[in-house]
């Protein structure tokens, strides 16, 4: 290829990027506490950037601040989709510090509950103002018809945000993806285990299709 052709191609690529590329879409990972949101966020971030986003824990409300991983480039079928992942604290309508006293002393439990309440408020704020799409993560071993899930899906729908439902923890014996599909038939449900890395190809295909 001649120098001139190469230069022309390079200029053309740069202009294309200038005029066609948008800011990466911010995709919020939402759901109730302990659904595996941070495990999923870490899985996606590690697969495509090599870094993790946050600390995972079986104790609810481990994530108490929204965390953003910018410019995660996901390659699917020869195309690259760039998104920012926002891992949000689990949403709830109640927080009782006594929930944590088995795992820590009272003072730490009170601090954790206070931070958790701030985190939930922050997550709601992001949802109203700052995300372009939502991955809604549910523990497929739990009953999906809860008030928090019903309300949050309603809030997401009212804002016309694209949403994918991820039925997580399919590695558990009690897992039922159908229960989630039946609860929210208006949305696409993708089964996965973020912890074990099961079905991640379908996860990335859908992320590229919905948010690309």
């Amino acid at each position: 290829m001649g120098l001139f052709t190469e230069l022309k191609d390079s200029i053309s690529r740069a202009t294309d990027r200038l005029f066609t590329e948008q800011e990466p879409k911010r995709i919020g990972i939402y759901g109730p506490p302990n659904a595996g949101k941070t495990t999923l966020a870490n899985r996606i971030a590690r697969d495509w950037t090599g870094d993790a986003i946050g600390t995972e824990s079986h104790v609810p409300h481990e994530t108490r601040r929204a965390r953003r991983k910018e410019n995660v480039e996901i390659e699917r079928n020869g195309k690259t989709v760039t998104i920012d992942i926002v891992d949000t604290p689990g949403v709830t309508t109640k927080v009782d510090y006594e929930e944590f006293t088995d795992e820590m002393d009272k003072e730490d439990a009170i601090r954790r509950s206070r931070e958790a309440t701030e985190g939930v408020a922050e997550a709601m704020h992001w949802l109203r103002e700052d995300v372009d799409g939502v991955i809604y993560v549910l523990d497929s071993a739990e009953d999906p018809i809860t008030q928090v899930n019903t309300m949050l899906i309603g809030i997401i729908e009212s804002r016309d945000l694209p949403v994918l439902i991820f039925a997580n923890k399919i590695d558990l014996d009690e897992s039922s993806v159908k229960r989630i599909e039946d609860a929210f038939p208006q949305h696409k449900t993708v089964p996965l285990s973020a912890k074990e890395g099961d079905n991640m190809d379908e996860v990335y295909d859908n992320i590229a299709e919905y948010f690309g």
Partner: protein, 134 residues
């Protein structure tokens, strides 16, 4: 078992659980924060608040936010809130929203202090809850 122990107060609020049934008409002219204040003031007093027509998704989102700001250890753990889940996707259709049918989404909503109300069962047509005295 919850019992009314404060005999001196006679028929005071400690003798039972107050339930406020609030009509859609009463909520109609209220601003979002007025609605939220009315609900949370009732819940702080230990009342069960039942809204005939519920809240909009945006109001629900703000109710969660304000509730979180008011949670205080050993005093207020937050709220339990129940509405019926949506029955199908048709409810949120674009045409429905364009035609202004938002009010048809309105669903009876029960809100109470998290430490006093426990949902026993919930499906698309039934909410069964246990209300206890604080």
């Amino acid at each position: 078992m919850p019992q009314a122990t404060d005999a001196e107060d006679g028929d005071g609020p400690s003798d039972g659980v107050q339930i406020d049934l609030i009509s859609g008409e009463r909520m109609e002219g209220m601003a979002t924060m007025e609605k939220i204040r009315m609900i949370l003031d009732g819940v702080h007093d230990g009342n069960i608040v039942i809204l005939e027509e519920g809240l909009t998704p945006d109001e629900e989102s703000r109710l969660i936010e304000v509730t979180m700001a008011e949670i205080s250890p050993d005093e207020f753990n937050g709220i339990e809130i129940e509405t019926y889940p949506k029955s199908d996707a048709g409810d949120s259709s674009l045409i429905g929203r364009i035609m202004g049918s938002e009010s048809s989404d309105a669903k009876l909503t029960v809100i109470g202090p998290a430490n006093q109300i426990e949902t026993l069962h919930k499906d698309e047509t039934l909410i069964s809850a246990l209300v206890s005295h604080n």
